[in-house]
Symmetry: D2
Subunit: 340 residues, 4 copies
């Protein structure tokens, strides 16, 4: 996993639950040395391949993974694993798995909360930190209306922007429209926007045909996982760094387009990524999934996180927020069972 | 189906498509005689059982149903059917079906749009028409945070109310909280609310223990399908009709609680039900599902509406709204297929 | 005043305060006979001029007026008066007044609440009742961004519409933009809108040049005081009544534009006007202003409602809503006085 | 003024307009040396008193001030001045002025935009940067509902928080309630809030009686001008610095309250203050006011910024945002003049 303060809390929780824990960094460049030091033995933050090899050799029973590299190296000897990323699950699904892998990335609590609320807040936070921009009064174009796009669109509106959505899937586009957003083809939105945020999972979402129509001074940011959503070749190479995270690309007709963080995911590159208040949900899903893998006999293959764990994590999060809810009466249970 | 202007448009569309159509009223009391007259032959709006018997005897190939009574009478002789209500689907699932039944009620376009946007608007509309109330400044308690509850909560906030949500499911309760609503047990919300709207699908959601804590003058409305969500026996019997759709129940301590429309679904009883702008989506799903049942060989049993029909209806609705969207480039298709 | 249930409550309050009250109808056509009957003696709802003459002859000390006709007839013999309408104040200001007239229409509580929240809700209510339209997913153009325009724009967004504002005053236009609305010239908005609502106080705000650019099926409504904001001559005369309050005007190129309520103020013509929850604020201002005129020696001429009455009405309204607020501590008073 | 990049743009604009400019730092600690260097001669960023004395001795015709110290030293010899702060205006109003001073702080464009949108965004930005907190799902208590409080409340709701407002003025409290916020006495809000933001202009708004009722882990921030709104003595002295800008105060019963930035104005202390997109409005008001003071003969004393300058700045800002608006037709002018 990423070696951060949030991960450290997961490690501590697993230790309290009776586990021995070894940790190697999913990304050695973002590993925080003080966190590694505080966790003590079993933490490997240096060379990536070496860390994975060391932990694999250590012989874990359960692996909690972010990217599936360690799962790939160990699944034949594991009791089970969990995988947190979409791309990791694609990898895992291509394997002939020797153990169960719980798809934490697809849990309801994870999809509904982390993507929408975590990235929704932090992507805009990254844009403000990079540019010192007032969001109110801007026209912000959000390209992609999956969970993350919805979160960004909602927060952009909440910050006083006029929001335009571009989306190729008609059901998602219709929901965006019914939720009050302008929905436009990207080439039309290109003329209207002050800020563009890509979050489609696709590539070249903004390209030459869009750059040609944008206003002078337009800001381009990517909140999707990979830095392929904004076509860098089409932006040209006449870039000036006007602020630490802002490159200005002069276009042939003199307009300047401002790219943030070289097109890398803006909430990580220009802000602090997911707030702790959503990472706790992810890591609670990981920890309870690990416990479940140990307690139960789960068949090999990619499996959903059990709904009861999803619900339990939601319940724990409500408790942490100080929110109390009712339970159904027996009469209500009986009534509803007639419909099931 | 219900014999209304919207249904008439569906009948006309089916006729244009080449069908012969017979129509009997799902609810003879709400049938509009001028609509029946305008549609001409084959429309039966009088006695309910007789209408069903007549249409069943007529020998349809495909049935579009609202409540599953006609499906129950004919499924062994049908090519296929569609069912629009949740309770109808429960009935259908208990049968040993002789034909396919498409679950229009569970289509994505239907769930996301009709329940959330149709009932969201019309339930509040019913409350305003019944009470002539200013919604701004009120505390509105929404009990139940399914699609319909979300729609009502969103519209209530949009009307200037402070909104409290009560929900027994922790995942839904957590989403409500993350969407900025106060989430409280019903007994606590009872003390805070000015207006209460039940939309849980359950029974006795508001009962004696809640009535005892409510403010003098509180307004009670139900937006769930059945009139069992507010316990009428617990309200007492000292009711005065203070406005045509408002009964005031004096409580033992003198407080008065105002029940709208006798606890029946408020958007139908006090307003005009779903706006035409969401019925078109339902009926487009029905019509395209009927065509699909005729064109394809579909196995018997309850089946989902095919995703392609869901998407096509969304596309048609966007077109009707004048909204144009992009399609993916071949490069983008290829890129995304690597992840599928 | 208008002879309605809300006015009846004002009359009863004045009587409880010790006044003798005579009432003649500001508009005899909207006078409710049962209200007049319930109030008993001194209520004149028949011929307009005769009602005014009768009440003037009766010899009131204080007049609460809506339109200033009675003030014009009696001001030389009055102790004082209040005037509720903008047009009435224009009339009053042209007189050589023999008594004080309090400008209730310009009180803070009145301007901020009635126009924004009362008309905001009821104008959209009128449009939905007249058309049975789903507001979510529509593009609604609000022409004019005074208090009423702000209220309508806010409620339209809250109902799920995408909202465009047209405004000629740059300060108001800038505020609209910073509040997240698209701000456009009317000729550009004409091409984008599904619904147009005029609320400028000006005339011919929508005219031939705009009608020429609108979509087929566009809906036109006026929420301003007078029916001059939409140019009826420019709409043409080929009108069909497609619903009781909807006239469809076919344009030379075949497009149809749907005018609501013949361009009269839509919240009165198609709905019930201001909800009771804002009329109470207006009438509390009237009642307390009347009391103040009796207790104090107020110089002749148009005067503002005293700020203490504004604040007292706000306090009473909060109390009615069950909202409790703090007062400053003596230390805080002392601290703030250093800045005054 | 503050020696920042935004001020540098003002200086350049004044030079382009033909002025000779000397600049001394309103706050030498925040002065940016590279900005001072880039502006060249006439910029004094070292010792505060010395800078003022040097510029006063230089003999300006017009002073643009932030705090009124330079006005106090020079007003008898000036053609005119502008003052940007509320506290500066209090100072200026206590002087026997020898020149006109334009109250830029009280201009419409300044009040409506800077306070509401600038501080609204940047105060929450400061809180997120200091705490890495997810705002969605939090209960945020805003104490004070002036322009700045409105901005913060609006942005907090837009970020997914449930917002409670505390306000002692009943008119403001009523507006907050009608805008959909919970309005509570501070002692009640103290039990409900996760985050508290003071913005009243008063002192000891949060004090012992409130700290006693708060939840463990509550966050306290001040967005008012002075650091007196949160009573530091009442917080106790057992503070631990848990993050660079977060001090945790342990209460006698073990609860910990987290104070941000030692109670100093959080948008400056933890973020970058007003975004450039609102400073441009302030500085355009300053520049056009300076020009007006030179062109016109303005009487001595504190004067409002002329409405035409307010409107012109709004127009320029709309132009900068790419927003085009209509002007009235001569017929409309004539029509409206009948009401004036």
């Amino acid at each position: 996993l990423h070696v951060t303060a949030e991960t450290a809390n997961l490690v501590l929780a697993l230790r309290v639950g009776g586990a021995e824990v070894a940790l190697c960094a999913a990304n050695p460049y973002t590993a925080q040395p003080d966190v590694a030091a505080a966790l003590g033995d079993g933490v490997h933050v240096g060379d990536y391949a070496k860390g994975i090899a060391t932990v694999a050799a250590w012989g874990p029973d359960v692996v909690l993974d972010d990217g599936a590299e360690l799962i790939a190296a160990t699944h034949e000897r594991l009791r089970g694993a969990t995988e947190e990323t979409r791309s990791g699950l694609v990898h895992v699904r291509s394997l002939d798995l020797g153990c169960p892998v719980l798809a934490v990335n697809e849990a309801t609590a994870e999809r509904a909360l982390n993507d929408r609320f975590g990235t929704g807040q932090s992507a805009l936070d990254g844009i403000v930190r990079a540019t010192h921009m007032l969001l109110a009064g801007q026209t912000i174009v959000v390209l992609g209306y999956g969970w993350t796009g919805r979160g960004i669109a909602l927060r952009a509106r909440g910050a006083g922007a006029s929001v335009v959505v571009c989306e190729v899937d008609p059901l998602r586009a219709l929901v965006a429209r019914m939720e009050g957003f302008d929905v436009l083809p990207a080439a039309v939105a290109a003329e209207r926007g002050d800020v563009f945020i890509t979050v489609t999972g696709s590539r070249d979402v903004l390209r030459r045909e869009h750059f040609d129509r944008m206003k002078d001074g337009a800001v381009l940011a990517n909140a999707g996982h990979f830095d392929v959503e904004i076509s860098l070749p089409d932006l040209g190479d006449a870039a000036t760094e006007v602020l630490p995270l802002v490159q200005s690309f002069e276009q042939p007709d003199g307009r300047r387009l401002n790219l943030l963080a070289r097109g890398q995911v803006v909430n990580l590159a220009a802000a602090q990524g997911h707030p702790a208040g959503v990472m706790d949900v992810s890591f609670a899903l990981q920890a309870l999934s690990a416990e479940w893998l140990v307690r139960e006999e789960v068949p090999a293959g990619v499996q959903p996180v059990p709904p009861a764990i999803d619900a339990e994590v939601a319940r724990l999060k409500l408790e942490a927020l100080g929110v109390d809810i009712d339970t159904m009466t027996p009469d209500q249970e009986a009534y509803l069972n007639r419909w099931r």
